[in-house]
Amino acid sequence: MAKVTIDGIEIEVEDGTTILQAARKIGGKIVPPAMCYYGPLKGSGGKCRVCLVKVTQGSAKDTRPMPKLVASCITHVQDGMVVENTTNEEVLNARKSIVEMLLINHPLDCPICDQAGECSLQDLSYEHGVSAQRFEEERRTFNKVDLGPYIQLHMTRCILCYRCVYTADQITEKRVHGVLGRGDAAEIGTYIENVVDNDFSGNVIDVCPVGALTDKTWRFKNRVWFTKPLDAHRDCPTCSGKVTLWTRGEEVLRVTARKDQYNEVEEFICNTCRFDKKETSDWTIEGPRHIDSSSVISANHYELPVLNVPIVPNLPVSTKKNLPQE
């Protein structure tokens, strides 16, 4: 066991836990954001650099601070480690810089992007971004690519987190897509042209933190905050069958895996559940999915209905006189 202090809060965690996991155990505002790290995927993390934190004391034995900021998602805790995240100016500045870097080539097409409302980059920019734009050059663009019948790739929006690559490596038998090219010309691609086609390929949509990989059965159908998330399950021969249905009225618009507050899926689901079962009769509905009240998704259906409010409230007497009397 190792005792670690994050932003002044002490917690005891098992050896081999990362700083990020320890912070998530504490929870709340002190949890560093993560764009590329994904709990269920082995080896992910360390790439986006938004989770950088300052280690002001390496361990109880070696009390020296670490010279550079470290990526909290891949740095293991040591007994007696002291970490500063939201309390350190250097960390907050670095995070701001990295958000700026992530956005310079991002198209910012949120108004037409299907991910809007549940996009990690949106949340991150809202919290750590700056409103001013210093980048005045032309943005890097790519053509849209169809990855088979279900998935569309919008490389322009991609932040190269490699999550979809790890997903394909770890839960499917054969990965046909990967990162091609280098630097800011690097892109997700199927060399040369290939179809991402297997029973679990749809999960790359769930792990994508931005709107780079989108569900073709859901594209442009609705905005996510107009839909109601419901937990549901069915007997599925290939996967656990535990999903979230995104409904509007009687219609099932989209099926996704169940995700926790850090957008990490509880269990990966198969393509049949995700793309083919779009009737409420296919599912046993368990009840509404809990959505964090700070999320835009909760904006439309967790408020109390407004009842018995006079239609013409408190108008001046002179105006009231001119209205038709009942």
Partner: protein, 448 residues
């Protein structure tokens, strides 16, 4: 003439063949190490010698070797980093082309010291003709019983392979090199674990530069203490310097560390002075990624002492008034060279070579290149200079591997020392973009 450790016989005709190489004392260190020394004794000699990594970082080689984890039943590897691709650096290719057996001898002795039974030379893909030279030399060494099973009857086995890379600069970073050697995409790994614990194929690995490894035979033959006598302080031994730019005699020179920079530039033994009788404007002393220094700061330190060709003296004053030894690529600029254009050129290189794995480097290198391109072509704004400083600062230290730093340092240093030249470019775009136009303000200030 200083002591020549690496290049003593380099101009002997036929030195690339085993026969001639052995006639000139080649492979003596293999015999001495394998027959009379234990691996620990070889490591100890290298530690005593104070030999520092010649690839750029200058980390003591003996120390690096002693960090190598030695778990039971797990193979260890020695990998030679011959992926030399830093702009301005050409010492390793020159050395390997001329004297392949020098490297192979170093590989055998070093592998013995580390207990590695399989070793690799990872060579840059563009150097295919040198790969052939090395393969030929390795075949000769196998035939003579210097490689393979039971070398020289000592019971020690070693297999040496040469593996070509695809020509990516990033594969010179040690963990990206290992990924590439494993047949994967050359992305640097997150550290820890360091290669000394989990390197090639998840086994303990040491990665050393060509020049570092090639220095080991001399140390074994003559003793580490003898090597430590050469040079000054913690900069021991000799170093190959790739001198290029506007000098009379560009080329590779082996110097004893401690030669004054002024002597190195102006003496006929080395660079032979600035060409066409021009004035010195600036020097990049260690390859494109180290900070550039203006003429006054490269010849004398901020404290007014002579600057010497040593690790310590070149970095005297930190990044404010100093630079770094780096890989020893000494690039000289005369008065007719434009610093803005040069900085743009460097940042274009880093933009092209960033692997794209982590966001600050992927996006930041491209951003800096675009802004510098704009300034160089007469479309800069006054605030662009501060923007560049800020972007460089945002990249530095926040990346997985040192490429981010390497991209940020030259830009930050060029602005630090030549800010007026950048301002002149922005204020006078017409003059600045005219062919052959060069800002002379700073030079006049130096001579006045």
């Amino acid at each position: 003439m200083g002591l020549k450790i690496l290049t003593e016989h380099i101009n002997v005709p036929g030195i690339e063949t085993l026969e001639v190489y052995r006639k000139h004392g080649g492979y003596k260190s293999v015999e001495k190490a394998l027959k009379t020394m234990s691996p620990e004794e070889v490591v100890e000699e290298v530690k005593t010698s104070g030999l520092r990594g010649r690839g750029g970082a200058g980390f003591p080689a003996g120390m690096k070797w002693s960090f190598l984890a030695k778990p039971e039943g797990v193979p260890r590897y020695l990998v030679c980093n011959a992926d030399e691709s830093e702009p301005g650096t050409f010492k390793d290719r020159w050395y390997m082309e001329k004297n392949p057996h020098g490297l192979i001898e170093g590989m055998i002795t070093s592998s013995y010291a580390l207990g590695a039974n399989t070793s690799y030379i990872y060579i840059r893909g563009e150097l295919m003709f040198i790969l052939r030279i090395l393969e030929k030399a390795i075949a000769e060494a196998y035939a003579a019983g210097l490689l393979g099973k039971n070398i020289m009857g000592s019971g020690y086995d070693l297999d040496l392979h040469v593996a070509p890379g695809g020509g990516a600069y990033i594969c010179g970073e040690e963990t990206a090199l290992l990924e590439s050697l494993e047949g994967k995409r050359g992305n640097p790994r997150n550290k820890p674990p360091f290669p000394a614990v989990k390197g090639l194929f998840q086994s303990p690995t040491v990665v050393n530069n060509v020049e570092t490894i090639s220095s080991v035979p001399w140390i074994v033959n003559n003793g580490g203490a003898e090597y430590a006598k050469v040079g000054i302080g913690r900069s021991t031994g000799t170093k190959l310097i790739s001198a290029s730019g506007n000098i009379n005699n560009p080329g590779v020179y082996e110097i004893e560390l401690g030669v004054p920079v002024e002597e190195f530039i102006y003496s006929d033994e080395y660079c032979g002075g600035i060409w066409k009788g021009r004035q010195l404007k600036a020097v990049v002393p260690g390859g494109s990624s180290v900070p550039i220094l203006p003429a006054n700061l490269i010849l004398k330190t901020a404290a007014g002492e002579d600057r010497l060709m040593t690790y310590e003296s070149l970095s005297d004053g930190g990044f404010v008034t100093g630079s770094m030894m780096g890989s020893g690529a000494f690039i000289v600029f005369d008065e007719a060279q434009c610093i803005v254009r040069n900085t743009w050129n460097y940042s274009r290189f880093y933009h092209h070579e960033s692997c794209g794995q982590c966001s600050p480097c992927r996006e930041g290198t491209g951003w800096m290149e675009k802004v510098l391109h704009r300034i160089e072509h007469g479309h800069g704004h006054q605030q662009d200079i501060d923007l560049l400083v800020s972007v460089a600062k945002q990249i530095e230290g926040n990346t997985i591997c040192p490429l981010g730093d390497a991209a940020a340092w030259p830009v930050a240093a060029a602005i630090r020392h030549f800010r007026d030249e950048f301002e002149w470019h922005i204020k006078h775009p017409k003059e600045a973009t005219a062919p052959g136009a060069v800002y002379r303000g700073q030079l006049d200030a130096v001579t006045a």
